[in-house]
Symmetry: D2
Subunit: 345 residues, 4 copies
């Protein structure tokens, strides 16, 4: 059992608890516990039940022997020598590390139901493969928009329903892993959390594929070792994402480290993609950087797209508008007929 609480975003003085119970819905002990919770809480909503991904490895079950109790392997789990051909990571029907680059697109933040549906439709129509959008946003200032939380997750799931695009979204803290994993197809660990080791272990145990962004101040070695934390905890499905590092150059938000993309491909079997939006911070750079990243060997892209970038609640200056994204998608998937995107048959 994992009991999780967070301040409810839409009402002050109210807490929302996520109770992630390891058991079957018919277990009487579970019913009893739910009753007790209902006594304490204003309102209880059963989000549903779901299968554990691998026997014995969900959040609250005893995990496989934790890595730090094991001996360091001769060859790290991320090391390319463990799979010289390169690993593939599947997210629904998509494959990272396969023949085709995977094009992830969507807004920085899920701002409303309408906007995420509109963006998702446009992304699918243009030939995007997967939908992104933040429901939990890591913001520099506590007064900035922090995301719609669970509501945002729900809208993302609705958008997937409509378009067939699998969904990736960021999880900020381990107690949200269960709920994010419930709604999303892939969990994103953001740059600021690359060395939040508790979170790394929790996303690993969720069983969902993980998109691990490189920290803006993290070395290649640290990035790979962060992935090692996830693999060591039992989850092999990690995709790396280079999203720019902090350098002295002030004309761009970060500096895309293409060296790292190439080097990481040498050193690990894990697939690596590029997020040129955060790397550059300026929309006009996104398409050329995308093409450069794929040519250098990235197996996918994650770009921010907004129907009206000037009005975005976050990262507007770096967001493509729909026509710019359509042009990018055309160049990334030149052979593909538009409008057929990744839509499920």
């Amino acid at each position: 059992m994992a009991l999780q609480s967070r301040p409810e975003r839409s009402a002050p003085w109210t807490y929302r608890f996520y109770v992630d119970v390891d058991g079957t819905t018919t277990d009487p002990r579970l019913a009893e516990a739910l009753e007790e919770v209902e006594a304490l809480a204003a309102r209880v909503v059963v989000l549903g039940s779901y299968e554990a991904w691998i026997e014995g490895s969900r959040l609250s079950a005893p995990p496989p022997i934790p890595a730090h109790h094991t001996r360091k392997p001769e060859v790290p789990l991320v090391d390319r020598r463990r799979n010289p051909e390169g690993s593939q990571v599947s997210v629904r029907h998509l494959v990272f590390g396969g023949e085709e680059p995977v094009l992830i697109a969507g807004p920085c933040s899920v701002e409303s139901e309408a906007m995420i549906l509109q963006t998702a439709e446009a992304v699918a129509a243009a030939g995007g493969d997967m939908l992104r959008g933040g429901a939990y946003k890591p913001r520099t200032s506590p007064y900035d928009f922090q995301g719609l939380g669970v509501k945002g997750l729900r809208y993302l799931a609705d958008a997937r329903e409509r378009t067939g695009l699998p969904v990736v979204t960021e999880v900020l803290s381990w107690e949200e892993v269960a709920v994010v994993a419930h709604f999303a197809d892939m969990l994103q660990v953001g740059a600021r959390n690359m060395q939040n080791f508790t979170l790394l272990r929790a996303v690993s145990r969720s069983g969902k594929p993980v998109l691990l962004k490189r920290g803006a101040g993290a070395t290649i070695e640290e990035w790979l070792m962060a992935a090692e934390y996830i693999l060591a905890e039992g989850n092999p499905n990690v995709v790396l994402c280079e999203r720019g590092i902090r350098t002295f150059e002030r004309a761009t938000r970060h500096t895309l480290d293409l060296n790292a993309v190439v080097m990481v491909r040498e050193r690990t079997h894990l697939p690596v993609i590029v997020d040129p939006s955060h790397a550059a911070g300026l929309r006009s750079l996104v398409t050329p950087l995308s093409m450069g990243s794929l040519a250098a060997g990235a197996c996918g892209l994650m770009v921010e797209v907004h129907p009206d970038p000037a009005k975005a609640m976050s990262d507007g200056e770096q967001s493509l508008d729909i026509p710019m994204f359509a042009e990018l998608a055309r160049r990334v998937h030149p052979g593909r007929t538009r409008g057929m995107g990744s839509r499920l048959a």
Copy 2:
């Protein structure tokens, strides 16, 4: 109530749950709940009960209205204009931001009961003011020593008992805040977690004073806004700690950013100290950097000390040995008679 679990460090396949209950020990509902927990768990230890630091603001109580529900204040809470004289933060009998610099010292990691006691005795004898030591260690590799966990906390508390030195130690994740706050006098948020916003909110609500390290890749603005998260959540007792940033210079581990120390003093009323050990990564630089930091306006220092640096389980190359620390303490507190340290009467 907050229910927290973590893999027990000393035994695989075992979980330790921390149950932090908001209530009085005479409440029958609490007794009942404990019974139920005992039924599920192999062993239950009541760590004790403690007073809430401020009415209504401990970890599990409804927090003050969260910052993100409030309007952004005209002047941020950290802004120096809110207290042009500069704020003072007290940790037991010590004052950060007062007349005297505060000298924090101790090992990178608590390695054993004997070593932390030995180090603490030496620190106190030499004139150190406060004891540091990591029980939960953020390590780049999952195979590196991750700290002694609760056992380490207990040893730190024992060392305080013996020497009278208040204790600061790092907390890595919000579910450990309650237990760390139970044992320590001050909670350290490490560089890797500077933008772990869940953790920032949790340490705020713990009511304990917080030592907030700057991220190695974080700007001054981001650092101040991280402190703003803590203040906005209701806890005003934040001390900032500059510990070096990532730069191109490869001869040192990080680059001490003395500019930032000075600038931060202009921009915020919060006290700021320097950790020259992590900034330099080499013990021979620690004393000169310490003297320079104090002369530039830092109100304290945190240095790593080890009885036998060559055998340290982490950060040995940057740890002072006891004689080097004694020399530093003599220079930091020139008027003070040795051996009288911070020992309680």
Copy 3:
């Protein structure tokens, strides 16, 4: 007239003076001056006479009104608005900024007559467009090999003779501009000299096309303003070269700044190429970075190639061997029949 002297590299206690005379070979005043020089010098060699590239603008003639005597133009000379189509820079039969990428290759240093001829032959045979090689080497240590000087220039000219490949080579100081310009087709200003403004003015007045490398610690703005120095002094033929910047990442020698390549193309009409060899410092990264750079919009590449990288006198670890270069050339110029290279008919 410009009188230039340098220590002769092959014999201590000996100076070599370069006398660059502005006049006709029939001028009796010139003959007289040469006589006087012969009286003072151990040996006089007339390197030859050459036409001034533009009336009134060679090194020793009164230059066009220096920029700093003119008013700042409304729109800088480098600004893309001055030529929205993008400028082309010709070096003999090659065009930077045209349809085809220009592939420059050669050793870091010209090490001997045999090695530069061998490398040049291989570069031409594989489909390279232009030959590089340092005769004057900027070396961190004064005890490192500093280049063959004029002898190296001569060998480069011989290699051009044999292969038809135009030659680019670095010039370190303004007094060497005349002699380097005499032998080379394009003058390279190295990263360390990007803000050596005397040198920038001198290469401008030489009339030769200039390859301007970005300083490893220089911003995009500074790089463009360095080009502005050259343009303002009268020479419009500048090609920019991104070669990696200094960042905290220690696994690679520098960090290729692909953002900058794209941004510079927006901000200036000047052609921009990439040097992935110095950017990465490791040969295995060179080919993927090359492909990425071209896809992002670079109009050419400069790569280091050595017949036996393990024995190179400088930068061996980042030098491609001949087969690796042949593979790169094949990918850069897919349609081109090998062996036809840039050979003059």
Copy 4:
């Protein structure tokens, strides 16, 4: 003989040649040569004659055997093991590396005769030890004020005459070394020229003490090797100056690298000072950084001072005004009676 020419700053289309002749003023060959020069030039001014600093080592004489012709020494010339006590460098009556810190102050640029005299008087009165001021300015844009050239040098010499303050000023290119050395007491090699090896050799041969600034993108190792170039060319009188490096922090112009100051003192016997003005870029940081630098072991400071910073032609935001400088000087030289400064008796 060294014949040097530069565009005359005050009149376009006019060149000023500096003829630095190695000989005695009674030599008939010299008189003859001067005549010939007079025939070609519009105006000839004899700046004067001066003694060679060391027999056989002035600019135009055969230099000591150049370093690159010698074997690399077992222990580099800069290495602390060559002088564990630390070297002292004298500039007139001042000593770098002695008991007292040396406080250098003055404007970024020499802007006019009146302003440099006014500033020098104020610096001397407040207790400054030495005067700085740029006559040749390295400016990012070719349209920015480039300095007054020789006129500026003359004003500096006049200011020394009046105040007794020795003068340090930057030299940008080797052909200006002779004239700058003629007027100044110490030659400054700027950050942008730290690896302008021709310039390093030329300042070495000038025989004047050299102030070698660290490049903003240069490592400690490169900085020391730049000093090695100067020592290897025969001049042992080098003072190092840390002036901030390029990092990701955007709130300050550069980042003062105090680690480097301390490390350099370990690795070399050469004295090291700090320039907090360029390191911070903001005047309010200058005094605390100064005190911190001295406490960490720097043996001197170089700060920018301007009588009216708001009107400065360069670097006004980082320049102290006179009262701020007076306060700094009081703190740097606490025991010294004001107004007695470095004035010669």
